[in-house]
Amino acid sequence: MSFRYVILIFLITIFGYLLKTQLSCADYNGNFHYSSHVISFHLNELITTENQAPIFIVRLFHNKITVLMFDIFSRYIQFFNISYLINIIGLAGLFGLFYFYYSIVANKIRGKIIKIFAVIVLLLPFLEIFQLTKLSFFLRALYLMLPYQAAALIGLFFSLKEIKRIPYGIYFLLLILTIGWIIVFKNDALSFCTA
């Protein structure tokens, strides 16, 4: 079996463990979910801390659309934050995911299906932000984690194929660090969800 596949099998095992850890949660924590109350409260807070600005300025900068856009942006960005990603795809997966998107934008991966898949991965967080599905946490965690993990695997697979200059030892080191990370920061994995 080629060395490339050995690394991928290792990574799949790690992903399995990370998935199992996440599935022990009850739900994602509130930071991931849009709430109209939060928007109203925040808007009110902004207006009360305003310092004698003309009314049109207050309306221009502190309106529902702006607060909503900022709120959605901040919730969305959490799904691509390193601290979150590292808990669902590990350090090695982080590199894989980066290389996956890099290869697509740099036109190294050309398949249409894979490009559609890449876009879907980018859009999936909206399902959770707006809680569009009424599925159980188990199913939601699956559709929110597995596509990321798949993208990371594809990215890592391509990087193993493409980047000839990186010795395999570096990949092994990355895997060891990934495992070490899981052991050292075991509790971090649960900081994004409710028990």
Binding site: T49, N51, A53, S74, I77, Q78, Y102, G180, I183, V184
Partner: protein, 522 residues
């Protein structure tokens, strides 16, 4: 458009510098609201040197300033003597070096990129010709740099010196004149005499430079040894300081080995586990500098540093350009720009991750590669001829203008209400009110327990006033029994006895009017 930019380069950079200066100087005497402890310490030491030739502890023209025990590096304080002499002992006087060097950084980034692009192949040079101007503009308007340039932060001055060093090294690379190398190394060294994190960053940079000089045999061996000797001589005081007891103090105050809590409940609980855990904490700290949440949404490391909870280190509209620019940079067959930009991006967090992270101030140099990458992203997207890309670009720019305007609105209109408590306006008010009551009382006594570092604020705002600093257990001495004493303390809810009269509560000038101190008559 392109020919217009080429022809009007100097006019455009002048406009950008003027914009940068206005954004940094506008109302800097009252925004941020009040001088915080370190600013006051810097200002008072500069004033004390100017007036008495001594620091606050009475030491004549010291090289290191004891201050709060953190042993401040000398450059900012000595530089600040001039603005203090011109503008007086006030907010403008203390913050002016930051404003000045922050603005200059924009110019030196432009000059550095101009020179470095001239070393690139002609195709790439033509492709990236607007990058110096665009990068300078991005740096001029980005919250990360503006926010620090408006406070007395040594890091801002260090970044400027570092950029001068980079620029002069590029000039040396082009002309092969040793003088430029000497100037370059001088400014790199000056950066490490200005801010603590550059004590790590500068040696790494200098080592890279010497590796380059050796490996490329760019100058003859004899000259290399002379230059190396010159660099070592420049560093001797700093090395003695760093490895002395005082030099360690800052490290002990901030390092992960003393300050960062280790993760609990790990599978590794033995005493040797620390050796295994620290590298992971280091990696975690390193990666924290690339957290999208920190960069674009909420700069959570220190509430004081940022304009509001609405903004991160960079603008949200810069995100697509940062991503695209990074990918373009990775793909570009660039000889130098790529190596330098990626080099700084990877080295800066590596140098500062040893301390509790993320810390936007220590990693301020990161704003330079980020500005360049965002500029590359913008320029690369502009070159696309596809209609939908043009529409998307126009949309992002419109949102960008709105977000940038919102940032400045939040800064000017909200910041003083939401963040006043984190700055030193309360201490200033206490010192001013105490001065007003000075003549009515035999002595002014300040309970330091909940008003730490009040001493330096009193020195700064009125060093003629000599209050007595005490702790909560202090009792009025018998010999003062017939004297009127002004007692200043943190607002406590405890019951006061009949002989103590509440004179006034000192409140913050915010809508909530938070009480920050009580003036009592004993």
């Amino acid at each position: 458009m392109i020919s217009f930019i080429k022809k009007k380069q100097y006019l455009l950079i002048l406009i950008i510098i003027v914009i940068a200066f206005i954004l940094r100087i506008y109302q800097v005497d009252r925004l941020p609201p009040g001088l915080y402890d370190d600013e006051v310490a810097i200002g008072y030491n500069a004033y004390s040197l100017l007036t008495y030739g001594k620091d606050e502890y009475g030491e004549s023209f010291p090289l290191w300033f004891q201050s709060f025990g953190d042993y401040k590096l000398p450059v900012y304080i000595y530089v600040d003597i001039i603005p203090i002499a011109i503008f007086g002992k006030n907010e403008l006087g203390v913050r002016f070096p930051s404003v000045f060097f922050g603005t200059l950084t924009v110019l030196f980034l432009y000059l550095f990129l101009q020179d470095i692009l001239s070393l690139e192949p002609k195709i790439l040079k033509n492709k990236l010709h607007t990058i110096p101007l665009l990068s300078a503009f991005i740096l001029a308007i980005t919250p990360w740099h503006i926010q620090f340039s408006r406070g007395a932060y040594e890091s801002v001055v260090s970044v400027c010196f570092y950029m001068i060093g980079c620029w002069q090294f590029t000039v040396f690379y082009k002309n092969k004149k040793i003088l430029y190398l000497v100037i370059s190394l001088f400014f790199f060294t000056l950066a490490s005499y200005t801010y603590h994190s550059f004590r790590i960053l500068t040696p790494i940079t200098i080592l890279v430079i010497f590796y380059f000089l050796f490996s490329k045999k760019y100058i003859n061996r004899k000259n290399i040894f002379s230059i190396a000797l010159y660099t070592i001589v420049l560093h001797i005081p700093l090395l003695l300081f760093t490895f002395g007891s005082h030099g360690n103090s800052r490290f002990l105050q901030t390092s992960i080995f003393t300050q960062q809590a280790l993760p609990t409940s790990t599978l590794l609980q033995s005493s040797i586990s620390d050796f295994i855990i620290y590298p992971f904490i280091y990696i975690k700290n390193y990666l924290s500098y690339f957290s999208l949440q920190q960069l674009f949404v909420k700069a959570g490391d220190n509430v004081r540093f940022y304009s509001s909870s609405e903004f991160g280190f960079l603008f949200r509209w810069q995100l697509p350009f940062l991503i695209f620019g990074f990918i373009v940079l990775l793909r570009e067959k660039s000889k130098i720009v790529k190596k330098i930009v990626l080099g700084i991006i990877f080295i800066v967090p590596a140098a500062v991750a040893i301390a509790v992270s993320p810390n936007a101030l220590r990693a301020l140099l990161l704003i330079i590669p980020f500005s360049i990458i965002i500029a590359i992203g913008i320029q690369s997207i502009v070159r696309y001829k596809t209609l939908w890309v043009k529409i998307a670009f126009a949309g992002i720019i419109l949102l960008g203008i709105y977000e940038t305007a919102l940032y400045f609105h939040m800064y000017v209109s909200h910041y003083q209400n939401t963040h006043r408590v984190f700055w030193g306006s309360a201490q200033k008010k206490i010192a001013e009110e105490a001065t007003n009551h000075e003549k009515e009382y035999y002595a002014i006594v300040i309970n330091e327990d909940f008003l730490p570092n009040e001493k330096i604020h009193f020195l700064f705002y009125n060093d003629k006033l000599k209050p007595l600093f005490v702790n909560s257990s202090w009792q009025k001495p018998q010999k003062w029994s017939n004297k009127r004493i002004l007692y200043i303390r943190y607002p406590l809810k405890e019951k006061m006895n009949a002989r103590i009269k509440l004179l006034k509560n000192i409140t913050l000038d915010t809508p909530l009017k938070e009480v920050v101190a009580q003036f009592l008559e004993l």
